[in-house]
């Protein structure tokens, strides 16, 4: 099957999944035992009339299926409700915080993927030698250490004991944010030639991005290592050697291309971990992203923000999964032949 047809098929399948996700978030927002309207109206001392008005506004007395219809309708029009903790539309808040999370996540991936794959290969090729043991140790600690604790330890080490890196935030207090083009500080400051902002944002990104990417690095390392170990024993690798190819070509061309397939398969999972991890990382580093926003919302009982955040994260995940699937079919010609 042609690649283009495969992509179209996957895009169509996207719709029921997104619908299902909205159904799920709708369900979650309706198991909240607290009376949402009362909370919005001001809590215990709320005016009953205000509560009634809010209830009507939010259609809380309508039958469930009608409420779901309103919900879906709102979502399609980009209305995620009102943020109680920030007193503005949820959508607006998320728009503001999105670039910070994006920049952090992208940098974490840029760290985790190349380093993970490379060390995975080396680990497999030098199986059971000392470098294998070290990389396996890194990998396993990566998935065993709680991100928030790692963040705190790194803060103690590099921002307190040996203060070479900033403690938190995206920029130093004395530095102005670069002119807003994308919201990604590194990109924006490069493009506008603002080198003070560039330097400051890079410095501030180091600890959070490392913290966030460390666990993913571990996972990628392990998957790459184990699939390389398996593939290196296959028949077609034997053929490649029999052709007289240099061992380097055998590993990095013939074996790796096949080994990347399971790695790509797992990247959906890794990305989920990154998004979840971002929530914790942003909290520790006081990073002005969606994660920190969500945690604040949780602590303030701002349910519409929490739900809005969840929906957005789900949409991002679904999109990422789609990209992963397409990438997968590019890498592995066998699966293009119908599902």
């Amino acid at each position: 099957m042609k690649l283009r047809d495969y992509i179209i098929r996957r895009l169509i399948l996207l719709i029921p999944i997104l619908l299902g996700v909205t159904l799920l978030t709708f369900t979650v927002s309706h198991i909240i035992p607290a009376d949402v309207a009362r909370v919005f109206a001001g809590g215990e001392k709320a005016n009953p009339e205000t509560i009634a008005r809010i209830r009507a506004e939010m259609h809380l007395d309508d039958p469930l299926y009608k409420q779901y219809y309103y919900y879906l309708n709102d979502l399609i029009h980009g209305n995620l409700g009102k943020s109680y903790s920030e007193n503005r539309p949820v959508t607006e808040a998320i728009k503001q915080y999105f670039p910070a999370t994006a920049e952090l996540t992208i940098l974490a991936m840029l760290l985790a993927i190349p380093v993970g794959i490379l060390t995975g290969i080396i680990s497999a090729v030098r199986r059971n030698q000392w470098i294998d043991h070290i990389t396996r140790l890194i990998a396993i600690t990566g998935v065993s250490i709680p991100i928030f604790w790692l963040a705190l330890m790194l803060q103690i080490a590099f921002a307190y004991k040996y203060p070479i890196l900033p403690l938190d935030s995206r920029l130093g207090i004395d530095v102005m944010a670069p002119k807003h083009i994308t919201g990604l500080y590194i990109f924006d400051s490069l493009v506008t030639g603002n080198f003070a902002a560039l330097k400051s944002s890079i410095y501030h990104l180091i600890l959070p991005a490392f913290t966030l990417g460390y666990a993913s690095l571990g996972i990628i390392l392990r998957i790459t290592r184990s699939s390389m170990l398996e593939i290196v024993r296959s028949d077609y690798i034997r053929t490649a050697r029999a052709k007289g190819l240099k061992e380097r070509t055998v590993i990095y061309k013939h074996a790796l291309r096949n080994a990347l397939i399971p790695t790509v398969t797992v990247s959906g999972l890794i990305f989920a971990g990154l998004l979840g991890g971002a929530v914790l990382t942003e909290t520790i580093f006081n990073w002005p992203g969606m994660g920190r926003f969500a945690v604040n919302a949780v602590n303030n009982l701002d349910f519409s923000s929490v739900m809005g955040f969840t929906v957005i994260m789900a949409i991002i995940m679904v999109t990422a999964n789609l990209i992963v699937d397409i990438l997968y079919s590019v890498l592995d010609p066998r699966i293009r032949l119908g599902e």
Partner: protein, 310 residues
């Protein structure tokens, strides 16, 4: 004696394989370390009352929503506030004067409880739904798979956060939330394994010999399904606790005053530069706990995977 010798002879190759498995396991340093860590933690949890210096009391209260809840209470000694590690207090004290070592030791009990409950529940759901999907196929299979797809489309921690936030702050709700996050993984795993073994030639061979379906399921399919599920369960025991700690850290799990490792880190964060031990030791406990299960699971996987054995 004759009976035992006969049994030994008949099962000679099975015994040999088991011995080989055990020896592979024993020779895997990492698996042994993992096993050691876990035994160590379980022992600590078991003997908590004897090891700890301070002990919590459990109080039954009526909460604002009209339900009875059990809360953990520790005695307060403000005089001993924030003391560094010493012979008196191995891990120091927190801002209420509690002995951190005691809290961590009791926290082990809580973590083990959380891990076991969530993983076993998720596995049970997974076995039921996965078996239905895998064995019967058709519409039921499609439906179950689409539902798991939907659940898996939301990042785990975030979904748990949403559920836990909606349900209200408590450890029980965190456990429910984590079960909701975890069941799709087991459903898919078990379904996948059943599908795989169903197609194997030895199942076809058994069928052609006239073996009844039930015997096929129990003798051929299930034993081969078991190994990867077991590995997954082992590793998830650690992962669940990791996530539970994360949720407690955010403020969604244990109520303040409970000795839960994640919560302790969150409380200690304020004092991070003055009293590093408050944050350090609970985190270390989490690391050892999760590391133990990950190492064990990793080792088990290497040992049980027929392809990597030789």
């Amino acid at each position: 004696m004759g009976f035992i010798d006969e049994w030994k002879k008949r099962n000679e190759s099975r015994i040999k394989e088991t011995k080989f498995t055990l020896s592979l396991f024993r020779h895997s340093l990492l698996s042994m370390i993992g096993l050691g860590l876990i035994i160590f933690i379980v022992l600590i949890a078991l003997f908590a009352p004897y090891l700890a210096k301070e002990h919590p009391t459990y109080v039954r209260l009526l909460n604002p929503e009209g339900k009875y809840v059990t809360e953990e209470r520790w005695d307060i000694h403000f005089g001993d506030k924030l003391l560094p590690p010493s012979r008196e207090h191995y891990f120091g004290t927190d801002d209420y004067g509690h002995d951190i070592f005691s809290m961590i030791v009791y926290g082990a009990r809580l973590s083990i409880k959380i891990g076991l409950l969530v993983v076993i529940s998720a596995t049970i759901i997974g076995v039921i739904l996965g078996a239905i999907a895998g064995y019967f196929g058709g519409y039921l299979d499609e439906l179950i798979m689409r539902i798991t797809d939907i659940f898996l489309s939301i990042p785990g921690l975030i979904l748990a956060m949403a559920f836990a936030a909606a349900l209200g702050r408590s450890i029980e709700h965190v456990m429910y939330a984590l079960i909701i996050v975890w069941w799709p993984t087991y459903t898919r795993l078990i379904r996948g394994q059943i599908l795989k073994t169903r197609e194997e030639t030895y199942v076809e061979a058994a069928r052609s010999l006239g073996t009844p379906d039930s015997k096929i399921i129990f003798k051929h399919i299930l034993p081969n399904t078991f190994a990867p599920v077991f590995v997954q369960m082992t590793m998830d025991l650690g992962n669940v606790v990791l996530n539970a700690a994360g949720l407690s850290f955010i403020g969604l799990g244990a109520n303040p005053g409970t000795a839960e490792w994640g919560l302790m880190i969150s409380m200690g964060r304020v004092y991070i530069f003055q009293a590093w031990w408050y944050v350090f030791f609970p985190g270390l406990a989490i690391v050892l706990f999760v590391l133990g299960f990950n190492l064990l699971g990793d080792g088990l996987r290497d040992v049980l995977d027929p392809k990597l054995r030789r």
